[in-house]
Symmetry: C2
Subunit: 341 residues, 2 copies
């Protein structure tokens, strides 16, 4: 975190299997040690090397093993190494997650590559969400940071598997300027890059939810008509985190009472008599009451799909918020009850 | 709720199977209708009859069926009817939950009976936590209300199965004065009654957790050393509601990293390097780090029991809070995924 603040980075050393978290001051020393070895062998300032870890919490980092591996890692560095990196940091993700995009700014191609692993407690034990992005545009750190925050707010910060966050969650973007093009403000060109960045982050975060622990459904919870955005956010997360809503979706049960109940205790200002709920475009609740058996059966069909939207209109104002989430399945419990043992 | 505010009640009509929630203005009319029928047949003011419902959300109350049953219900009223009432409102609780206590005040016996059903989404669909208490002491409504709030704060408000609350959660206490003894303030006699009331509520709420949906463990989460009580409360609920902590307990996995992780994102002020964690009396985390394999195995044995405590000392101050909870089991998902279908 100290090094991130400086805004300059030339290498990232990522290890999986050990989170180097809850390891006290020894853990900090170890992170400094391994990155200084990498810096030395790359011939760069050790302060330009970031260390990133994911895995089991509470065990010391096996630095001897890492030291021995560094020469080979450096030897294998290549522009084609992207996929091997994505796969190397996968731990128990079931598929590698990467996105590549190009856009043209002032006639020049600008490239952006992104990768992500784990998320919101996607497997295994407190799996960390690690995302790394690289681009060849030239752009100053403060502006790039602002753009990344904007993209992350609408992507990584809008996905939740089970409401848990990890000790090590990280999103990093590096820009090396190789495209021979410089962005210095949020003008039309800046917006063009922002659009690409936001799209890549959104795609990566969607793939996280699809690979969620035991997930059988990919669900967007969209709250609209809230008194403000904060109310919409609360309501969206209350529905997305409700174990009863999530198990109902796993069971393909159109149990709208559970959605209303989650809304009722989320703290947002609601009028139960004005709530409308839709599964995709099919209404299931109108003015806080069920739409009747025939229409409920029709809406119920929507949640039998692998992917669907739950749209809630609170009719209280203009606040809106959407999150992506998964269901709570038997496999989620099996995976998380048996990890480590 | 209008009637509760007046502080006087002579009869409660409780039905299970239908929550009469999300039924709009019709639902309110229905509740008034059934209670007015009861009032008429009992020969008392309808305003003195409370209506209480638990069951499926979103279906109209079958008032015709209720009307037909009222004469028999009134005919069967008797001081011995307590157990039948507990059983009648059980829905899918696996055992009836009732407590009876007597204490002596000024040489006279004062009795207190309490019952409870469902809880924090104990079965089935958004099962309501309904608790009814009766005593034969004479006591004014405002004082009794204060005592009940105090008791509820340390009992019903300290249990959580899955973080969900119901549309219909209710705790009611009635005092009829039959003991020929009056309490008018929080003196020594008042405290004696308070102690009995708190004990009964605590026992009832413990039985709720033991009968939690799919619960295989009965767990107390005790946070101490927090910067304040609010921080302690946040931390306790974050641990108690964490699906990862709950599944680890179901799997009897002493995965302390998940507890630290929940503490880390709960919003309470913590210093990760000062956190101690115990399973019962066995230490598992000291200064934010594992206590080592040998001691961890010892602590791990504690969570193989049906009932155990997780004690977290944040070493930040004097704030303390404790909640009772259950694990998250395969049966929880099975029960909640298949309800209604």
């Amino acid at each position: 975190m100290q090094r991130i603040r400086r805004g300059v980075c030339q290498a990232i050393l990522i290890n999986s299997g050990n989170a180097n978290a809850c390891t006290g001051s020894q853990g900090l020393r170890d992170a400094r040690q391994v990155s200084s070895w990498v810096g030395k062998q790359l011939g760069i300032d050790k302060e330009l090397v970031f260390a990133s870890s994911t895995g089991v919490i509470g065990s010391p980092l096996p630095i001897k093993k890492i030291r021995e591996a560094i020469p080979e890692l450096i030897n294998k560095l290549s522009p084609e190494g992207w996929m091997s990196t994505v796969e190397a940091i996968m731990t128990t993700d079931t598929f590698p997650k990467t996105e590549v995009e190009t856009c043209h700014i002032k006639g020049k191609p600008v490239r952006l590559c992104g990768m992500v692993k784990g998320a919101g407690m996607i497997r295994p034990n407190l799996a960390t969400m690690l995302s790394f992005l690289v681009t060849d545009v030239h752009i100053k750190a403060p502006l790039l940071q602002k753009m990344l925050e904007r993209a992350a707010e609408a992507s990584y910060n809008r996905v939740t598997i089970d409401g848990e966050t990890s000790t090590n969650d990280t999103v990093l973007i590096l820009a090396n300027g190789r495209a021979g093009l410089s962005l210095s403000r949020m003008d039309r060109d800046g917006e063009k890059f922002q659009t690409m960045l936001s799209k890549v982050c959104r795609n990566l975060s969607e793939s996280l939810v699809k690979d969620g622990e035991g997930a059988t459904k990919f669900i967007e919870i969209l709250i609209r008509g809230a008194r403000g955005q904060e109310d919409a956010r609360r309501a969206a997360y209350a529905v997305a985190h409700s174990p009863l809503v999530k198990t109902a979706f796993f069971g393909e049960d159109a149990n709208w009472g559970r959605i209303l109940c989650a809304l009722g205790h989320c703290g947002a200002r609601i009028d139960p008599n004005r709530i409308d709920v839709f599964f995709d475009k099919a209404p299931i609740v109108k003015n806080g009451m069920g739409v009747g058996a025939r229409l409920e059966v029709k809406a119920g069909r929507m949640i039998k799909k692998k992917s669907f939207k739950v749209i809630v209109d609170l009719h209280q104002g203009k606040g809106q918020f959407s999150v992506l989430t998964a269901d709570l399945s038997l496999d989620y419990v099996k995976i998380n009850a048996s990890y480590r043992s």
